[in-house]
Structures are given as C-alpha cells and as structure tokens.
Assembly symmetry: none
Homo-oligomer: 226 residues x 2
DNA sequence: TTATTATGTTACAAAATTGTTACAAACTAA
DNA sequence: TTAGTTTGTAACAATTTTGTAACATAATAA
C-alpha cells in the first residue's frame, strides 16, 4: 500500500480520523477543507485517489468532480464521494458525475478502506499489493510471512508488526514515541528500553549471516530501515 | 469455484453485499457503478460472468447488453440481469436482449448464487466445480466427502465447514473472529477457546500418520492452511 | 583524556497464547 | 426411547512472548 490519497472534506474530525488511519496503512495523505483550494492542491499533490465530500462550503462535490473530469491530466483520477445519509442519493446516481464509488456517512474506517482498495485495484493494481518489499526483504501481510532473499524468517508478533511498520516507510527515521504509537496496541504503555530490546530482537531475526544490517540507529532520534 | 465475476450496479450497498459473499465463495470480483465505465473495465478484467443492473445512471442495462453482444470477444459472456420488482419484467422477457437469466430485487444471496452457478455450469462447467483441492487434500462440496491422497477422511460437520472455509482461501491467515463469522451459523455466539478446540479436532482428522501438518498457527493472529 | 549519555546485549520472571484432555449437554439416527 | 455423535466450555499443561532490570559497550561533549 503505497499510494497517495487526497481528501476534500470540511469536517476536520473526519479528516483527522481518515487521514490518521490511512497513513497507518501506508498511504501518503493530504487534504483541503474546501473545493477551490482543494482543486489547486490536488495538482501539486498528484494523488492516486480522491475522497470527496458532497457538501462543501464553496463548491459542491459534484462541481469539483466535473471540474476534475474536464482536466486532461486528472480525467481518470478515481474518486470516492462521501455523502451524509439520505443526502440526495438519487442525484448522485442520476447524475453521470463520473464518481467511482460513494459511501454514506457515518461509515466505519474499515468499510472505507475496503472500498478504497477495490477502486484502486481497478485503476492501478500495483498500489494495493499486500506484499511489502525492501531490498531483499519481503513481507506478506495476508499470509503473515517474511522472507529474506527466498529464505523464510520466523518473527514473533511484535517483531512482525515492527518490521511491517518500517516497511511502510522505508528509510524514514522514526522516534521511539512514533514507533510506540503505531506498533503497540492503543492505550498500552510500555516504558524505558522496551523498544530498544524489540529492535534488537528484530535485528537478530532478519540479519541472517553474512547479510548486511537493515536497521539503522540514528542516535538521539530513533531507528530506520536502510 | 474459481471464476471471475464483474458487477455493473449503481447501488454500493448491493455491490458490497454481493461482492463480499461471492468472494467468500471463492470468486474474484470487480465492479463498476455505471455502464460506460463498466464496459471499459470489463475488457481489462476478463470476467467469466456479468451481473448487470437494469437501471443505470447513464446507459440502460439493455444498452450495455447489446453493446457486449456486438463485441467479438465478449459475444458469449454470460449475463445475469438484476431488475427491481415489477420493473418492466415483460420487456426483459419479451426482448431478445441476449440475457442468460434475470433476478428481481430484492433477492437473497443464495438465490443469486444458485442462478450464477446454473448459468456458469452451462457456459463453462469447469468453473463451478464443487471440488476444492489443496496439495493432497480434496473436498467434495456436493457429496460432502474429504480425501487425503486417495484415502477418505471422516470429518464431523463443523470440521467439514472449517476445512471448506480454509480451502476457499488457502494460505491466507484468518483471525478467530473471521473464522467465527464465516463458519458458524449467524447470530450464534460461541466464546473462549471453542475455535482452538475445533482446529485441534480438524487437525487430528486430517493429519493421517506421516503426513505433514496442513494447518499453521500464527500466534496472535489466527490460523491458515499451508 | 574523562564524564556523561545513549544504545547494545543478556537474562529472567510474568503474562499471554495455544495445545490438549475431559466431560456434560445437545443433538441425531434408528 | 436408546445408543452413539457432536458441541461448547472448563481446566490444566506446554509453549511463546513480553517487559524490565542490569550490565556492557559505544558515542558524544567537556
């Protein structure tokens, strides 16, 4: 999961929720609170998919949509429309607005995620791959398996989640706090050197002999894949 | 059941329901919300069967159907039309539109499934095979019999459904919740270690001596066939 | 250099997860 | 009905995983 998703939605709480969860899934996410600004940002951001609210303070979602469909570059940008329940569902359907899917609020994040995956699978199957790769490392999120150069590695649950986390943003340095928040279950608090020890365990698991170190320590900052 | 099914239908809730259940049955599924886009996607997706809504925002189902029947490659694509109740039933029947079957909304999923199977059985009998296989394991869904390498195994009802479930998605890791939802009858709630015990029973039944273990335990995640 | 701080490494007990067995209740077939 | 299956759950055993402390080593600053 490595695509870019743009959100145009005027409710900050929804953006907050969706953005945070999508980033956890490995997407790069950006957003705007209104239509006009959104259209501008869109071109800079070059997303693989757009989440578009139906009711916006300035333009309507439909206007934005039409605008995009006229554009040469973004004509084929997949769009998922967010609508409040009962909110002119008929209009959305009736109008040939070129929306790829729509979902009515309130929705669960998992429901949204599965639709995003479905739409992306149609437009660009590479993006929704459940296989994370980095150098000679492969992690299969469906089968829960990890390979280094053909050879399967045996990781514990936390080691697996930790590696999965790093693979979603290779090369990027994460602080211990960031790692904690993303890898450990919510409202669990571990303290002290716990993460260091888990890093050590992960290192031991993936560093088969005569293979180069893949986890870099950035002193006083954190760790990263390299 | 290994075929590909494409859906053209403008109500996401119906797509959601049908897609989810068809995938449970082992089909690969993709969809579009309108006729024009659907026709394009169709060619990329190369389905074995098409579920086509009668009322679409742009083209009518009939238009789509005619369009397909003119196509050289998809001339013989089996099509099942979905219609709202009383919605011009006569026309559909009367019209020689080249539809293979139709079903009126609302319909039960099982009703749809049996029609799909019937149509597929005519067009491509291999696809509706009721034989699930994995390595040296064979499960016959019609005769309700299981073989491991020629030798018949005797499974209890729950063991059978459990194995059937795993065979529909071999290698994939399922959580206990997912297993519960798919294998146990709806709104039944079992709790605690029930699933683990059933897994143990299934293991005992299929692990004839000197055969390798086929069910993998993924700690903190669930189980999978392997 | 030395002092200080951050990270690596090891060990271990507690906690969590899974395997296994047994058994009573529910269900089936005859 | 009765005899035989099947099912859910509890109880206990075996195993793995986890967090933390303690000590070693490396990096940095003074």
């Amino acid at each position: 999961m490595t695509g870019k998703i743009f959100i145009i939605e005027d409710e900050p709480s929804i953006i907050q929720l969706v953005q945070h969860n999508l980033e956890k899934e490995g997407f790069v996410v950006s957003s705007s609170l209104n239509g006009n600004e959104g259209l501008k940002e869109l071109k800079k951001f070059q997303p693989n998919l757009l989440l578009l609210d139906w009711m916006l303070p300035d333009l309507s979602g439909i206007d934005v949509c039409k605008n995009i469909r006229r554009d040469n570059i973004f004509r084929n940008l997949p769009i998922i429309m967010l609508t409040a329940k009962g909110e002119e569902e008929d209009k959305i359907k009736g109008l040939d607005s070129g929306v790829d899917d729509y979902i009515t609020k309130p929705f669960s994040f998992n429901e949204l995620l599965s639709r995003i995956k479905a739409v992306l699978r149609r437009s660009d199957p590479k993006i929704v791959s459940d296989l994370l790769e980095f150098e000679d490392l492969k992690l299969d999120r469906v089968e829960k398996r990890v390979f280094r150069d053909k050879q399967e590695l045996k990781l514990g649950p936390t080691e697996f989640r930790l590696l999965e986390f790093f693979l979603l943003n290779p090369k990027r340095v994460f602080s211990r706090d960031q790692i904690l928040e993303s890898v450990w279950p919510n409202n669990i608090n571990v303290e002290g050197r716990t993460i260091d020890v888990h890093i050590r365990r992960l290192r031991q698991s993936i560093n088969t002999k005569d293979k180069k170190e893949l986890i870099r320590t950035v002193r006083s900052s954190g760790y990263s894949l390299i």
